[in-house]
C-alpha cells in the first residue's frame, strides 16, 4: 500500500505546488502501477484541487497559487482526456459560462471557469458582453447541464434576469441549472430573477454545481 500512498501524495503535491512539468511522469507512473485513468482523476487529482479551492476560499492562499494549481490540474486532465474518452468516461458535466450583455468584467468569471474546469467540468466560455441570445445558442449547441452568468455592475446584473427569460422563451430553462455570481449579486437577487443558485465566490460555484449534478439530465 506504500506505493498507493506515494503516488497519491506526489500528485497532490504537484497540483498544490503548481508543478505542471511533473504531471506527465506522475500520471504515467500511476498508470503503470495499475490505476485506471478515472481513478487517477477522481481519487487523486480532484481531491487535491478541492483542497486548493478550499484554501483559496479561506484566504490561506492567493490568486497566483490557486491559478498555477488550476493550470497544473488542467495539464493533467489534458493528458488523461484521451484515456478517459477511450474508456467511455465523460466529463463530470458541461457548463456554459459568460459575463452578461453590457458588462466587460471577466476576472471573477475567469476564476470560476478555471476552477470548474479543474474540477472536471467541460467548459464553454463565451467571454464578456454576452447577449441572452448567445447564451441560448450556446445551450442549443453544447447541451450543457449548467449555465453560469457573471456581472460586476448593478447596471448589468439585471441582464441576468433577461438571459434567464430568454432561456425560458426558447424552451431551454428546464434543461439547465442557472447559477449567478459577481460583486453586486446576492442570494436574494438570485431568487428574485429565478436563478437556481448563487455563488458568493468561485469555490462556492464549484461546490453548488457538484451538489446539483445529480438533479440535471
Amino acid at each position: 500500500m506504500t506505493v498507493v500512498t506515494n503516488i497519491h501524495h506526489e500528485l497532490r503535491e504537484a497540483i498544490i505546488r503548481g508543478k505542471r512539468e511533473a504531471m506527465e511522469p506522475l500520471i504515467r507512473k500511476a498508470l503503470s502501477k495499475g490505476f485506471r485513468s478515472e481513478e487517477i482523476m477522481n481519487a487523486m487529482m480532484i481531491p487535491a484541487m478541492d483542497e486548493v479551492g478550499d484554501r483559496f476560499a479561506k484566504g490561506e492562499i492567493y490568486l497566483p497559487e490557486m491559478m498555477i494549481a488550476a493550470r497544473t490540474m488542467n495539464t493533467g486532465l489534458d493528458i488523461l482526456r484521451p484515456l478517459l474518452l477511450s474508456s467511455g468516461v465523460a466529463s463530470k458535466a458541461k457548463a456554459v459560462i459568460g459575463t452578461v450583455k453590457g458588462d466587460i468584467h471577466d476576472v471573477g468569471k475567469n476564476i470560476v471557469a478555471m476552477m470548474l474546469q479543474s474540477a472536471g467540468y467541460e467548459l464553454f466560455d463565451l467571454g464578456i458582453d454576452v447577449a441572452p441570445e448567445k447564451f441560448v445558442e450556446a445551450v442549443k449547441t453544447h447541451e450543457p447541464q449548467f449555465v453560469l452568468l457573471s456581472a460586476l455592475l448593478t447596471l448589468t446584473m439585471l441582464m441576468m434576469g433577461e438571459t434567464i427569460n430568454a432561456l425560458q422563451k426558447a424552451g431551454l430553462r428546464g434543461k439547465v441549472k442557472v447559477g449567478v455570481g459577481g460583486a453586486p449579486v446576492t442570494e436574494r437577487f438570485a431568487v428574485r430573477i429565478g436563478a437556481d443558485f448563487y455563488g458568493q465566490e468561485a469555490r462556492a460555484a464549484v461546490i453548488k454545481c457538484n451538489k446539483l449534478i445529480s438533479t440535471v439530465e
Partner: protein, 369 residues
C-alpha cells in the same frame, strides 16, 4: 454654520482633523451623469461642485465635446497625441493600458480585450505606447485649467503607482502565472510603469494640485490578489518609487478587501484610503483599526443604494456612515467607487442633501439618532 472653504474642508479631513462639515468629493463622476445633473455639457468643474455642494474635483469633464463613458481616455490607439493635447478638460495623468482594447458599441465603454505585455520581447511596446512624461504640453494645458477653474475647491490629479498598469497590461491570469514563470518580467513591467508615474509626479508636484488620487486596484471583494510576501517582492519596491516622489497629500484607491495587506500598504505613507467597498470591508472595523493613521474615504454603496435604492435609503446610509466614522473628523464621504452614469440622479441629489443635513460639525447627535 459652515465657515471653511471647500479646499480647507477637504485638506483638514485628509489630515485627520475635524472640519466644519464632512467633506464630499468623488474619485470620478461619469460624464453622462455630469450632463444629467447640469443639463448641458458646457459647464466648468466648479459649477458642478457648486450645484451639488461638493468640495473638489479631478477626473475629466465633457466641456469641449460630448459626454463619453468612463475609461475612454485610456484607449491605447492614438493615446500619445490625445495625452499631450487633450480636447476635453481632464486632470488625469495615468498611463495607457498596453493592451488590445475593445468597445461596446451601444455605450462606447472601452475594455481590455487582452494584455500585451506577456514576454520580454513585448517590453518594446513601452516605447510605442507610453507618452513622454516630460512633454510640456499636457502640463501647460492642465495648469491653465487649474488657474481658470480652481476657485475655492480642492483639485486633485489622478495618477497610478503602476500596479494596476502592470496587472491590466499583462492580464490578471497571466500575471498570476508570471509570478511563478517569469518573476523578472513582472518586476520589470511594474518598474517601468512606476518610473513613468514618478517622472509625471515630479511635474505635478510643481503645479497647483492640492492632492493626488492614486488608483491601483489590488483586490476583489473576497481578498487581495497577492499574499503579503508577494506584495513585498513584486509590488512594494516599485510602488515606493512613486510614493517617494509624491510631495503632496494622497489618497490610495483600490476596490475590494485590502485588510490582509493594509498594514503593509499604509507604510507607503498615503493620507487616505478609498473607497472601503461595503461588500468587501466593514468601515467600522477599518476606522477602528486604521482611523488613527489615515483618513477614511468612501463607503456609500454603489452595488445597491445609489444605483437601485431609493432617496430615503441613500439618506439613511449617509446618516449611518457619518454616525459610524465621522464623529471625530478624518472622514470624507464618497461613493464606494465613483458616481457612475447608472446611478439614479435623484439618489445623487439625496446624497448631496443628506451630507448637508447630517454632516455639520459639531455633529447633531439628536439628528443622528
Amino acid at each position: 454654520m459652515e465657515n471653511m472653504k471647500p479646499r480647507e474642508r477637504v485638506l483638514t479631513a485628509l489630515m485627520r482633523g475635524v472640519p466644519d462639515r464632512v467633506p464630499w468629493i468623488e474619485n470620478d463622476i461619469e460624464e453622462g451623469l455630469q450632463e444629467r445633473i447640469m443639463g448641458k455639457t458646457d459647464f466648468k468643474p466648479g459649477e458642478l461642485c457648486k450645484k451639488l455642494g461638493m468640495d473638489g474635483f479631478g477626473y475629466h469633464f465633457p466641456m469641449g465635446g460630448t459626454a463619453t463613458a468612463g475609461q475612454a481616455m485610456q484607449a491605447a490607439v492614438g493615446f500619445k497625441e490625445s495625452y499631450y493635447y487633450p480636447q476635453k478638460v481632464t486632470f488625469d495623468f495615468v498611463p495607457p493600458w498596453i493592451a488590445e482594447m475593445g468597445a461596446i458599441p451601444e455605450t462606447g465603454r472601452t475594455f481590455i480585450k487582452r494584455g500585451l505585455l506577456t514576454s520580454n520581447d513585448s517590453l518594446k511596446l513601452f516605447d510605442e505606447y507610453l507618452p513622454d512624461p516630460d512633454h510640456p504640453e499636457r502640463y501647460e494645458r492642465v495648469a491653465n485649467w487649474i488657474a481658470q477653474f480652481k476657485g475655492d475647491y480642492a483639485v486633485f490629479a489622478r495618477i497610478r503607482l503602476g500596479s494596476a498598469s502592470m496587472i491590466e497590461s499583462m492580464g490578471l491570469v497571466q500575471f498570476a502565472y508570471n509570478v511563478y514563470d517569469h518573476p523578472g518580467l513582472v518586476k520589470e513591467v511594474h518598474r517601468r510603469f512606476s518610473e513613468w508615474s514618478a517622472k509625471v509626479v515630479e511635474h505635478l508636484n510643481q503645479m497647483e494640485f492640492d492632492f493626488y488620487w492614486v488608483n491601483d486596484d489590488l483586490a476583489d471583494t473576497r481578498s487581495p490578489w497577492m499574499s503579503r510576501e508577494m506584495l513585498k517582492e513584486f509590488f512594494f519596491p516599485y510602488q515606493e518609487i512613486v510614493a517617494h516622489a509624491i510631495k503632496k497629500p494622497w489618497v490610495f484607491h483600490s476596490d475590494g478587501n485590502l485588510l490582509p495587506i493594509l498594514d503593509d500598504l499604509l507604510t507607503l505613507g498615503m493620507s487616505g484610503i478609498h473607497p472601503v467597498q461595503p461588500s468587501a470591508m466593514d468601515i467600522k472595523e477599518v476606522a477602528k483599526r486604521y482611523g488613527q493613521r489615515v483618513c477614511i474615504l468612501g463607503n456609500i454603496d454603489l452595488d445597491y443604494t445609489l444605483t437601485l435604492g431609493s432617496p430615503e435609503e441613500v439618506d439613511r446610509e449617509v446618516k449611518e456612515r457619518v454616525t459610524a466614522v465621522g464623529q471625530e473628523g478624518g472622514y470624507i464621504i464618497t461613493s464606494a467607487n465613483s458616481l457612475t452614469d447608472y446611478c439614479k440622479t435623484e439618489n445623487v441629489w439625496a446624497m448631496a442633501n443628506a451630507i448637508k443635513k447630517y454632516g455639520k460639525y459639531p455633529l447633531d447627535q439628536n439628528l443622528l439618532k
